[in-house]
Symmetry: C2
Subunit: 244 residues, 2 copies
């Protein structure tokens, strides 16, 4: 039975971090909300599941994964669940918690990326919080990007097994997520990221290495990979970007 991925159609968003892992390992999966409106398919099916009044384990928000009867919500949780099954998690039990810790730091940074364009309320349009968004973005670019990316760079540099992967001696889902994080930041903040290659060499090399992994390369040119747009977490609003 294929995995069922539930995430909003029309954007990469948080679902993309799960998609990359499924694609890298050629897993059998269905992207439910992108399906036609057949039974159990489409956005309607996703919303019905979220609104269910008898489902024992309801998710708060997409993305979530359904594997048989089990619903697993939250990107890091999904990846911790899928990692070992897809061969994308460290074999060592302890290192799996290290991987999950890194994934949660990526999730924290993502939440801050979201807040650059929605600092006051997720229920207001960007246009109605633009001035606050400028302030938040400026602080994000000046303080938070260096703090987070500097951290991930150190993680790579200090990996005893070398800086080609974030944890252990083999690629994991964390590396795929770091790729996506870098892609998104370069899309949303091209000016702020102009010197990233120089400042974060290991992270930049990892990004390039992931991009040419055969399954990832194939996925990126498929029509399953949507382009970044201003509906996702990463949004390019030139007025929010600045030199670092």
């Amino acid at each position: 039975m294929p995995y069922e991925l539930y995430y909003w159609d029309g954007l990469q968003g948080r679902g993309e971090f799960v998609r990359l892992a499924l694609e890298e390992s050629s897993a059998d999966y269905v992207d439910i909300a992108r399906g036609s409106d057949g039974p159990g398919q489409g956005t309607k099916a996703m919303l019905a599941l979220m609104g269910s009044e008898n489902e024992p384990h309801i998710p708060f928000a997409p993305p979530f994964l359904k594997d048989g009867g089990l619903i697993v919500p939250h990107v890091a949780n999904i990846l911790m669940y899928l990692g070992p099954k897809l061969g994308l998690a460290p074999r060592d039990e302890g290192l799996r918690f290290v991987a999950n810790g890194l994934q949660l730091t990526i999730a924290d940074m993502l939440a801050e990326v979201h807040d650059t364009h929605h600092p006051l309320s997720t229920d207001l349009y960007y246009e109605d919080q633009k001035e606050a968004a400028k302030q938040r973005s400026s602080a994000f670019i000046e303080q938070r990007i260096p703090k987070f990316l500097g951290y991930f760079e150190r993680v790579l540099q200090q990996n005893p097994h070398g800086d080609k992967q974030a944890v252990g001696d083999a690629p994991s889902y964390v590396d795929l997520s770091l790729f996506q994080l870098m892609e998104g930041l370069h899309y949303a903040f091209p000016r702020a990221m102009k010197s990233a290659a120089k400042r974060y060499p290991a992270l930049t090399a990892l990004r390039e290495a992931v991009r040419i992994r055969p399954n990832i390369a194939r996925y990126l040119t498929s029509d399953r990979r949507l382009a970044f747009n201003t509906s996702g977490v990463f949004r390019h609003y030139p007025e929010l970007d600045q030199e670092d």
Copy 2:
């Protein structure tokens, strides 16, 4: 060897969610940053570990747990790691991911609580972003509290094993965290939470049930339980509170 919990001294903060699990299960642990400045003790030791240039798995931020040579960062990750060891996780493997999903939703709500007083930048003082904080808090109270607490109420109500616990048929670390979440919200937003007991009866009953668990009750009156204050995630600024 006792568990070592690393978290900022002087506040409950995110560390408190881990402390409650350790206290409930009478685990042997040391609260490192609250120790005197002996070797490996105190805030200095915590900062040294975070700044280490040869530690293979550095944490991004407190809290983190050290268990022998393993460093586990992030509240939800720590609790997923500790849960089974402390007898505070579901026995069923699948349900552990359900528990982790709930814990991550609590983490998401906490991040939004933090943003009520720091909507523009974590590097600015509250006083320098007060106007934005008012807007963010207002949206939080009107839209986000009902959305999150309404969700947790449904989770309890729809638990096939009854509404006395969030997941499965026995108390877990998630219940302790829901208690702490409710405590914090009542402290920070007493006016907004005035009708909470009526709107979220199962959640309110859970809060009261956790409070009188013997080990928790003992902990809450010990000097290890610090009072809420305006250094933590939950802060009571009357100007940010309003009727719901």
